[in-house]
Amino acid sequence: MIEIRHLSKTFASPEGEVNALHDINLTIPDGDVYGIIGMSGAGKSTLVRCINMLEKPTGGTVMVDGRDMGALSPAELRKARRDITMIFQQFNLLMQRTCLQNVCFPMELSGVKKAAARKRAMELLELVGLPDKAGAYPAQLSGGQQQRVAIARALATDPKVLLCDEATSALDPSTTAQILSLIRDINAKLGITVVVITHQMSVVKEICRHVAILDRGTVAEEGLVSAVFAAPRSQAGRRLVFPGRVDEKVIDPARRGQLRLVFRDSATTSIPLVARMARERGILASVISATTQPLGGETYGGMLLSIPHEQMAEARAFLGSIANLTAEEVSDHV
């Protein structure tokens, strides 16, 4: 279990101190696939680096399996890092070593005998589906293949936690799907806790059980992926789940307001809401944006309506009578 308590990190910069992380509190259960999502600059990468102390937190604690990572000596920390391995956006393989030698590398560092290391590395290359690339150099591989080698390398020391720092951000959609399914398999087969840092909603939806939304160095909200994505409570959450800002020109805020609807099951999603509002109540709603998405076996929908101010109260009353639907007024154009 990873327990992050009151974690903060400030960087000194020429313009003064920058608060990269502020009072972060997260609990990541064993065996979970935990997503940390946020826009660039939200502090995701700093947060994940605080877990293995590549970044020293300015305040707060990070406990991994009951061990205070910040209190370890340099030697203890190096040993602890064998249990908390990491994969990266740019794969970060050693370019002058073959794939097999890359996978052997962490075992070499910890003093595993060469023959044993090679045997284990071959097994791992098999696990990630690249046994035939053992003798190839990273430059001869595609991005997806390089990430597979990096995953094999990260598994070489039998870690308990795998940190994925934007591991699929440099890959195309179909390769991303393959890497994600590999990570999911590894989580299921080996029971390794996976922490996924990403700015892509699709990644979280695809593999994560829990998610935390990070916004300007704080946790905006967290919980089960299905719950958070179905009805994001925070502004940052809404920005991520319902991307795209409303153009100021689309509606005249003096005359019309905006209503955000979230449908929580397919029965609700299939109600012809806008038509019924018009026919039954004479409300002239117009659709600004609408999406549906599958989440955990259910279909969720989101819709942004613009409604004349004088009809807003009636619209809310009508929508409030429908089960599994939440409606809230949006005033800040987010």
Binding site: L54, A80, R82, N92, L93, L109, A139
Partner: protein
Amino acid sequence: MYNGLISADSVAQALQCLKTEIPFAIWETFYVTVISTALAVLVGLPLGVLLVAGEKGGVLPLPGWLMKALNVVINLLRSIPFLILMIMVFPLSRLLIGTTVGTTATIVPLVAAAFPFIARLVESSLREVDPNIVEAAQSMGATPLQIITRVMLPESVPSLLHNVTIALTTILGYSAMSGIIGGGGLGQIAINYGYYRYKYLVMLLAVVLLILLVQFFQTVGTKLAVRSDKRLKH
């Protein structure tokens, strides 16, 4: 100066020289260059590593004053003109080799001139190593020494070979200069014949041979560097 450069007389002299003195001179230049470069790498490589690893935020941060001192000393040695440096290290040559003249004695000023240069070249090679790869090694629990010996140096081998080749050809040029203080080799032939005895054809011949040696070193060095680089798809 070049009037009557080619005459029956001068050609005969040049041919004579080519047969008698030049083969050994080529060997002297070759061996002084290679030995001096090897020794200079021996000193310069660790210093170059320290310049990168020891800085603030490096893998093995050293005290600031030490880094400053190191930088100052390297810059200082690099700013002394080689001609002067050769004379300044006479006492050191006498101490180490027992003499200040002769081919072997010139190894001392050559190493003294080349190791700070090599330290800077090594520094630039190591700075090319992707910091993300270093971070990856740190995330795997590598010690600073492991990062230096198993990541930074192996990853920069192609660049190091390129830079050592540059150093080698520079040292070759310096070794020719040491002909002035009694060092042997092609430089001595060029100076003795060309400058002191006005036998310009022999001087030109020595210069051409120096050029060929530089070409040889550069070609071999570039080939080795390219061949060693696994980032290129062969």
